[in-house]
Symmetry: C2
Subunit: 148 residues, 2 copies
């Protein structure tokens, strides 16, 4: 089954990126403004895009290195899928940290899932922009990849 | 083996998108300015990004529906991989056409391949921008997703 996979290099320290993917204020600056986070392992983060959006349970937190969530509520197609972020300092450029991202455990490679792949790139570039410039493009300011 | 998969909705007719992914002038407006295309099935398209870049052989051309290339020269990791574009009019919005994109047949899910996934999103959004506004962001005007 295909996974959604991405990798970006961000001019920021691992700790700054870790904060942006684990803290409510960080997450709300690049994925969706409407984020409510219980930030411990086993806690739930609610992401809302208009009226809907996923709840994720925090499965793993390895400070400055790795974060994993599992979707527990929201669109049927998302439930049970996992998002994993792995942070790796660039060994050749100490200003840059790589973020490897995977959204896995999809039941089908549907059109929706394929479109999510492109949309995740948009949001990971929003994360990069937030960390490098102070300004991301979280929902509802996100770049549109289609009508509807 | 994971594939790179994307899907964008473009406010354009299938024929306009087909032209943009099959003609030299179209391709040079969203992927790289330095494109030389022999545009028939079996022909080679040379894409250059600075001094390097892939040569692809045109495997399939189904007007306004599907295009497939196979990489024949360039980075070792790309050789033998295939890029496939499938165009589908949006049945609910006759101004929009979906482009489903796959870059398949990778030997390994390497960091390079994962980073290519994100970069393909950038170029497919460049294709969308080119068709909707007349202006894409082909190399060397492309959005950077990392340093180096």
């Amino acid at each position: 089954m295909p996974d959604i996979i991405h990798r970006v290099g961000i001019k920021a320290k691992p700790q700054a990126i870790y904060d942006a993917i684990t803290r409510q204020d960080g997450l709300s600056n690049w994925w969706t403004r409407n984020t409510k986070a219980d930030t411990k392992v086993g806690g739930t983060i609610q992401f809302r895009f208009g009226s809907g959006g996923p709840d994720v349970k925090i499965i793993e937190l390895h400070p400055n290195e790795k974060v994993q969530w599992e979707v527990t509520a929201g669109m049927q197609e998302w439930i049970g899928t996992k998002m994993t972020f792995v942070l790796t300092p660039d060994s050749t450029n100490n200003q840059q940290t790589y973020v490897s991202f995977k959204h896995s455990d999809w039941k089908n490679a549907s059109d929706h899932m394929t479109q999510c792949s492109t949309k995740w790139a948009v949001f990971l570039l929003s994360l990069k922009s937030y960390l490098e410039t102070g300004k991301g493009q979280p929902y509802p300011e996100d770049i549109q990849i289609s009508v509807g």
